[in-house]
Point group: C2
Chain length 467, copies 2
């Protein structure tokens, strides 16, 4: 990946200039968190940390960047000179990729001179938001598929190149088995999957000729697409071709059929019956075409014979929830707590840690959001990964993250494994020390907004609620 | 932009190998179109052609690409040697960027040797789908804003880097005025906008000090954010600071205030009253925070005093419709029509042209989808833009596209300017010649799917409908 420094919002640079000119260089603490889980997400999965750390380590303004900024007329020479050599010199604490997380829990905490830490906001959000969004969606597909294989087919309707490439990574770490996106296979070592499209069949004057030709031209086992014209006729053709080939050809074989349209359940059942009757129980069935976690769950629940699901648009765009309410907020500056009091957007101040408590079966039972320096029990979820601008140790490999994610999702309370909408039952407590810090801040500022205590999640309609 | 050749689905390459080994090199025609407009889109806006053409002209497999493919074990040496020198040698016809389009209308038609034209599928879709998606969403915001300025704020929750960069382009061509994304300003010459975030206010011990500091450190007119703690108090502070500065300082001025949370209408009204009472009618009001075309329309309809809208997540993710049912389908091969008959995914065969007929006021009245070589009336919307692999002429500039798009959207029937869901009333006719070609194809293949005529848009539930 490349990380252009100008891939940011203009205000990060105007603020940076102000901090520079005002000589404000004290330490700031920013935290990245989700304000509220979408109704249809009972948990989210943290992802994208590796690219966030790459970005932070590589952040540089080139001379072309500086020239462009200079031409805008908004920035003055001393600041632009400073910008040319600016590096991030602070530290980052973060949840490991693959960790399930909840409302208000910081997943990344950035500590450093305010100018440097502020500069990172737009791109950190842009990276971590997208991969967490997709990993959270993918984890639901994995739960729905009940052990059947899942393949990412989403490149074509992913939101441009990077989304296609990184959706494959996020889906894989949350338990997908493969992707059709070749570039993702190259960059991340993810297994690749894919054989032919309808156009190959249509380019031939008959489906039978198309099947024979594709098997002949393939090296190794292949998957044939059977829904271009008439699925049952196509399945019969596959059986006939295989019967002819079987004794003579160990290399050119059909390993699976794919159905991509129409009534997937009915076609899969009929195909399975035909294949089994022809003693081809080994031939697998791939289903695709507008699938999401709900249709996958229904197919599995109804006992439809299916071995592999291809999931495209709904996965790569997280189509039911295409964005999370994720924010990167200042929580401390110059040793003092800071918070936003805006209606519906208030935040918990202070540098924080999340402790996960487990029951005897090591199942997650309770999270507590505490101050970072508060003595607290349980397992701290944020660990220092970068100090003085450099990563402390290599991050886990993608396959380590995938194993960890699978274990952690399984270890959630079973109620959180359900797909339908509903308030998450998972308890997240805010420690007394955090609440006290918020109250103290409000008092110091002039006793809160018109004297009322301000708490995150406050809405206009329930503005008198205590927190 | 860079265009890695491996940013494609694996099956494009396995099919290419099959075409290569089978010596199938005849001319294919593929078309890119949307199968069905989403209920909440009465029209779509074509966008992304410039990046599609860049991609086609620049498509190259590097030796690293070939090495990676070779290591997969799926591809044989003669094909890989061929791939290393493959270029697209065919032609492209396309609707100009900014053209409103409808169901079944091809917006890009690719003609060339089947292997080359097939290879382009995934990335052409990936590029044109995203920008058309965002331009279509942006056009709705522009209609809603009734002439007020619109700024793209969406980078942070756009789906990774490219989506953020290109959403700004697509929004601008559909009528947005500026973006906060600096990289988009650099690449596309789009005006930039942005001043400060809540964190700047919070980093100060008082809001008043923050305002004074920001105005002091800014060069030129600035926008102050007034909703961090208490909007009315903040507006009063802005008025007081401005009053002090006014006689002495022509450079450091506040030009606008921004409100980003809570009840935007009530706060904007109260702010406007306070500003006007202080004789600061010139000071503009910017509203942002979770806006989309519906909330913009409501604010405008209710006469809320607002000059500029900042639109973020809903724009950059097209949150209500995060994907279009866009496809790239084989319509002709070796001079013969081709079509997919799959339930719900059948296509109209043949190389096609779209003619737009206008009424006396030059308002769009009717589109006809005809065969490309059929004599037909009206204005042909697809023009040849690339021949023998090279663009024929420079494409329009972004600002030319923007002017054209604005004219064309205004020239749509007024009913199409409404934002609420509803079947588009715009008439799109399929020519008799296209219908005849489809019927002839079905007959030749064995009289359609079990003897029924197949028409695009056919659903399981209405499978006996004629078309």
């Amino acid at each position: 990946m490349s990380f252009p420094a100008l891939l940011t919002d203009l205000y990060q640079l105007t603020m940076a200039q102000a901090y520079f000119e005002l000589d404000m260089h004290e330490t700031a603490v920013f935290e990245l968190f989700v304000r509220k889980l979408p109704g249809t997400r009972r948990f989210l999965v943290a992802a994208g940390l590796e690219q966030v750390i790459d970005y932070i380590e590589q952040l540089r303004f080139t001379s072309e960047d500086i020239e462009f900024l200079s031409a805008l007329g908004t920035f003055r020479a001393p600041f632009l000179r400073y910008l040319q050599s600016v590096r991030f010199t602070g530290s980052v604490h973060a949840m490991a990729e693959g960790t399930p997380f909840f409302t208000d829990e910081p997943i990344i905490r950035v500590t450093g001179p305010i100018l440097e830490a502020q500069l990172l906001e737009s791109r950190i959000l842009n990276i971590a938001h997208f991969q967490s969004l997709i990993a959270s969606k993918a984890a639901r597909c994995v739960l729905a598929a009940g052990g059947r294989r899942l393949v990412d087919f989403g490149l074509r309707r992913a939101h441009e190149a990077d989304a296609g490439i990184l959706a494959a990574r996020a889906a894989y770490l949350a338990g997908f088995d493969a992707t059709a996106t070749v570039e993702s296979g190259r960059r991340f070592g993810i297994a690749l999957s894919g054989t032919l499209a309808h156009s190959f069949i249509e380019a031939h004057d008959s489906e039978e000729q198309a099947f024979r030709n594709f098997v002949k031209a393939s090296s190794g086992a292949t998957t044939l697409l059977v829904d271009t014209y008439d699925t049952e006729r196509a399945v019969q053709r596959v059986i006939d071709i295989e019967r002819e080939l079987a004794p003579r050809d160990a290399v050119h074989r059909v390993q699976a059929i794919r159905i991509d349209s129409g009534d997937l359940a009915a076609q899969a059942r009929s195909a399975r019956r035909m294949l089994d009757a022809a003693h081809r129980g080994d031939l697998k069935i791939v289903l695709s075409g507008g699938l999401d976690e709900h249709s996958i769950e229904a197919l599995v629940r109804d006992g439809v014979p299916v071995d592999i699901f291809g999931v495209g648009t709904s996965l790569d765009t997280s189509s039911d929830v295409p964005a999370l309410d994720m924010a990167y907020k200042l929580q401390e500056y110059a040793g003092k707590p800071r918070r936003k009091q805006s209606v519906g957007k208030a935040t918990w101040p202070g540098a924080k840690q999340v402790y996960r408590q487990r029951d005897d079966a090591r199942r997650a039972a309770l999270d507590r959001i505490c101050l970072a320096d508060e003595p607290a029990g349980g397992e701290p979820l944020l660990r220092e990964v970068l100090r003085a601008g450099k990563r402390l140790a290599p991050l886990p490999t993608l396959s380590e993250i995938r194993d960890y994610c699978r274990r952690e999702v399984v270890a959630l309370p079973p109620d959180l494994h359900r797909l339908e909408a509903g308030d998450s039952a998972y308890p997240v407590q805010i420690s007394d020390a955090v609440r006290k810090l918020a109250a103290g801040f409000d008092a110091a500022l002039g006793s809160g907004r018109r004297g009322r205590p301000i708490c995150p999640g406050e809405q206009r309609a329930r503005k008198n609620r205590d927190c």
